[in-house]
Structure formats: C-alpha cells, structure tokens
Point group: C2
C-alpha cells in the first residue's frame, strides 16, 4: 500500500567526538523514505528544497522507487540546513546552527494522486503544517506523527489538537517526559496515549523503544551494535522501517505492529553505523532479515 511521508530534506553538518562531515544528505523525510524503501510499497515524498539542492540526492531516492514528484524546488530559496555536534556518549547532541530557509515557508501542496495514500507519516514540524498534510490525505488508513520539544513548548494546544487525529505518535524519551511532567516512562507513555493517539512509541536511542496502546505495553531493546558512528537520522529511520513494513503488510494488528517496531529498530541500528545514509546505502532487505534472525534469537529464552 502507498506510504506518504511529509518532512524535512536537509543538508547536514555533523561532528562526532572522532570525525566530521559537512553538507551531507539529511532530513527526516530523507531518512524515513530510504528506510521505508527496503519494503515493498510505493513511497511518496513531500518536502521543499531550495535551488541549491544537489540533483544527485533526488536521484538517490528516486532510484529507491521513492516518488519524488512531491519534492518542490523553490527558486531563490535555500535548502534547510542543520549542524550539530555529538557528545562523547553519542546520545546527547548540541545543535550548532539551524537555517530553516525553505522550511520556515512551507505550505504543502502535493500531487493530486498522493491524496490516495493509505499510510501517512508526518515528520517533525509545526503541528499546524502537520495538520495541513493530514487534511490532504482523506483516504488514509493509518497516520503516525513525530514531534519535538520546540512544539511541546510553544504550540502545545495545536499539538494536542493534532494528537486527537492521530493513530500513532513517535517521540523520544525526553519529549515524553516534557509533555507529561512524568519521569517514569511507562506512566508517561500511557499519559501521552490518553492525550489522543491510539498508540505511542517512545524512542530511547541506545536503549531501544517502548510501545503503548490501550491493551499493550512493551519494550524492545536496541540492537547492540558496537559501531555507533553517527546517530543522526536514527529516529526517522526507525519510523521509516516501522511504517514501511506496515504499508507492505497492509495489515495493522498487534503482531504486525510489533514486527514493524522490530524492523524500525534494525534499520536504525544500521543507520547509526556510518554518517548520513552511507550505511543504509550498503544494505538490502536481506541484510535486515539476517539481523532480524539474530535479534529474534536474542530475545528468546
């Protein structure tokens, strides 16, 4: 089933304790759609870029069968840029510079046939824009959104309004604590769920992810990779793997949701093994499935 993603497409500059990269491909919609491309579903990307956008990046995603007609290039504008620096623990990071550029001006208008998308992912962005995207996908079966501390702090009401329209919400542990004021992530997860989304996924970086629905609470550990080179995009890769699998299966059950979370976990474990999309570019579905076998075995006793 078709999977639509709205989000950012960016040029990132990333510094880790031992290395750095300038102007590499990044952005939530980029990581998401590449991650989803391991699964058998058409993917439609909606994002804006400036006229400084390298055509090779469009080709990279198009070659993965991502429908790039929704990528709007705006003349006279520049692409969103982010630069950040990771702390030695590789979990905490400092944002050095953000140039919103086109991102601040976004008014998503998508190709007419995108309206039929059945699975929809709203990357991190202002709740007002996320809602505009939502309203252009009236035939959706499942919509999942991401958010961040900024919107929790400055647009809480709009965010809560959005929550009531969502099937799922993914957010990280510090955001769940900020949103609920509860330090216990199990309680926080359920409190976020009670704000509207049918299910909530809390991402804990190297510590894995937690899932909350009315009937189920569970935790999935991260895949224990020794090679954490650059965590940028891990959360969006997680969401892409999760939604890619669900769109492929075209079935939303507790069982497919849990397997989807496991695929998300594994795609993310590859993403962090190199800068930008470099590690993802080296792997195929078979590599994911091999790691899945190890992961399943790891959790059985």
């Amino acid at each position: 089933m078709s999977l639509l993603v709205w989000g950012s497409v960016a040029l990132d500059s990333v510094e880790t304790p031992t290395d750095k990269r300038d102007n590499v491909l990044g952005g939530s919609a980029t990581f998401f759609s590449y991650a989803a491309s391991y699964f058998k579903s058409p993917i439609q990307l909606v994002a804006d870029v400036g006229d400084d956008w390298p055509a090779e990046h469009t080709k990279l995603l198009a070659d993965r069968n991502v429908d790039m007609r929704g990528l709007n290039m705006i003349d006279g504008e520049k692409t969103f840029r982010w630069s950040g620096k990771y702390m030695p623990n590789m979990n905490d990071r400092e944002t050095l510079e953000v140039h919103l550029n086109v991102l601040g001006k976004f008014d998503p208008v998508m190709p007419a046939d995108y309206r039929d998308a059945k699975f929809v992912f709203l990357g991190n962005g202002s709740p007002a824009i996320q809602r505009k995207v939502l309203e252009q996908t009236p035939n959706r079966r499942l919509v999942v959104a991401d958010t961040m501390d900024l919107w929790i702090n400055i647009q809480r009401d709009e965010l809560l309004d959005l929550f009531r329209r969502l099937d799922g919400l993914v957010l990280n542990d510090s955001e769940a604590r900020l949103l609920t004021g509860d330090e216990n992530l199990v309680r926080a997860g359920h409190k976020v769920r009670e704000m509207g989304p049918k299910f909530v996924v809390i991402k804990k970086g190297e510590h894995g992810a937690m899932f909350f629905s009315a009937d189920e609470t569970y935790v999935m550990p991260a895949y224990p990779t020794p090679d954490v080179i650059d965590p940028t995009g891990a959360g969006d890769s997680f969401a892409g793997g999760m939604m890619g699998y669900l769109a492929e299966q075209d079935k939303i059950t507790p069982q497919t949701l849990k397997t989807a979370l496991a695929y998300g976990t594994l795609v993310a474990s590859f993403t962090v093994e190199a800068f930008s999309l470099d590690r993802m570019k080296q792997i195929e579905r078979a590599d994911l499935d091999r790691r899945m076998e190890v992961y399943r075995k790891m959790l059985q006793f």
Copy 2:
C-alpha cells in the same frame, strides 16, 4: 545446589522525591538472598553486623530458608548504615551518609561446611576481601562478583587480579564506562570481559541489562513497571534472582544463563515497587512466573 553470598547487611535511610524511610533493612547480601530464596536451593549468607542489629531481620531471612550461621554479630560494633536520596528520574542518586562501621573491619570467616558451596556470589566490597571469600570456596562451580566505582578508582590492580578468577561479573553502565574508558556499552562490555570474567552483565537500571560472553551478546529490557517507588537493592535483587535460578537448575548453559537474567530482571522489577524488601515480602515464585509469562510474550513477535 548450595548458593553462598557474601556482602553487606545494612540499615538504610532512603529518600525519594515523594517519600522517605529511616533505618529500613538493606544491604547487598540481604536483597540478594531474599531474591534468591524464590528458587529451590539452600542459601548461605556471610556478613557482619553490629550489636545494634534487630533480631527480626535475621528471622525474616531465616524464615526464607537462608542459612544465617554466617551472620557474625560483632559486640561493641555497629551495623553498616547507608543513607541516600533519589533524583526525580529515580535512576540517579546521591549518597548522603555512609557509616561503614563493621564493614570496614571485615575479615570473613565462615562456617566450615560453607566451603562446599557450588554457586558463589561476591557482593560489592574491596577486591581483597572478595578474594578472601573466594579462597574459602574451593569447590565452587560458578563464582560471580559485583563491584563499584570506588574500587575501580582506588584498587584497580587488585580488581583486575580478581577478574581473572571470576566466571561472571555484574556491574552497572557507568562502572563499565569508567573501567574501560569506552562510552559505547557494547564495546565496553566486551572489553571488561577481556579483562578476565568469562561473562559480563551490565546493569542499566530502567533500561535493562546486557550480557557478554565470548560467543554471545544480548540485551534484555527491564520489565516496564509504572510503580517505581525505591530502586535501592534492584541490582542485588537482579543478581540474587539470576544466581538463585542457576543454583536451582544446577546447569550453566547459554539457555539457563539467559533465563536466569530474565528472572533477575523480574525480581528487580518487584523490588523497586516498594521501599526496602517490602514488595518482595508480598510475592512468591508464582508471582514471578506470572510476570515471566507476560515478559516472554512481550519479547516475542
């Protein structure tokens, strides 16, 4: 098979963001032996207390079939006391006061028949004392130790000497990082293992535990309990559940080790649900096994 534990027996004063308890039963050997008592193996405790030790605490453990002949009451001395305060996240804590009392004078001499113990746990303590206990159990089949940052900082050589005599080592995430200088816990776990222990368990509190042997690396998430009242003793309860199960099974295989880690995880999840041993006192093996069913199901997809 018989399981011997050497460690501390203490009177704790614990403050959490919402509550506090003074002079409650604590100590590594206490939590460990109660946790191990859910399993079918004789437990032998070795620890020192002062003459201020309440007889009711001895009775509590003796009623759980813990052999208390190794509890030495030293006249004119006082029992080890610890007081601490938990931060709002309930993972970080500040030690407010430590009175080593008898603990600083410890020279373990145990009942002669304890020498036949097959499973041995060395609670946190100076590596020199841990080694003395080790040398009094020549017939052991498995010895596992705990340690802490203090010994890593001030008795590193003695600790490394101990490591070479161990089957297993349990330590927490910050200790593994301190010991190896590596922030990545997967690499840190293997580095600790290369220092001597055949296997290493890194405890991550609310994020679960990681296991490292020459052939295996895996992660087990914590059981997602919303009721974290007091985390004191969680690590020792984990070790007690793990070793109690292994001693009961009397078989050390990858399969029993992994199940043992799961039992450790679950006993710890009960321990944190109340102050001191209060929650543990309310449950029986059947409660552990019920939670085990939920936990197993949680990790299957």
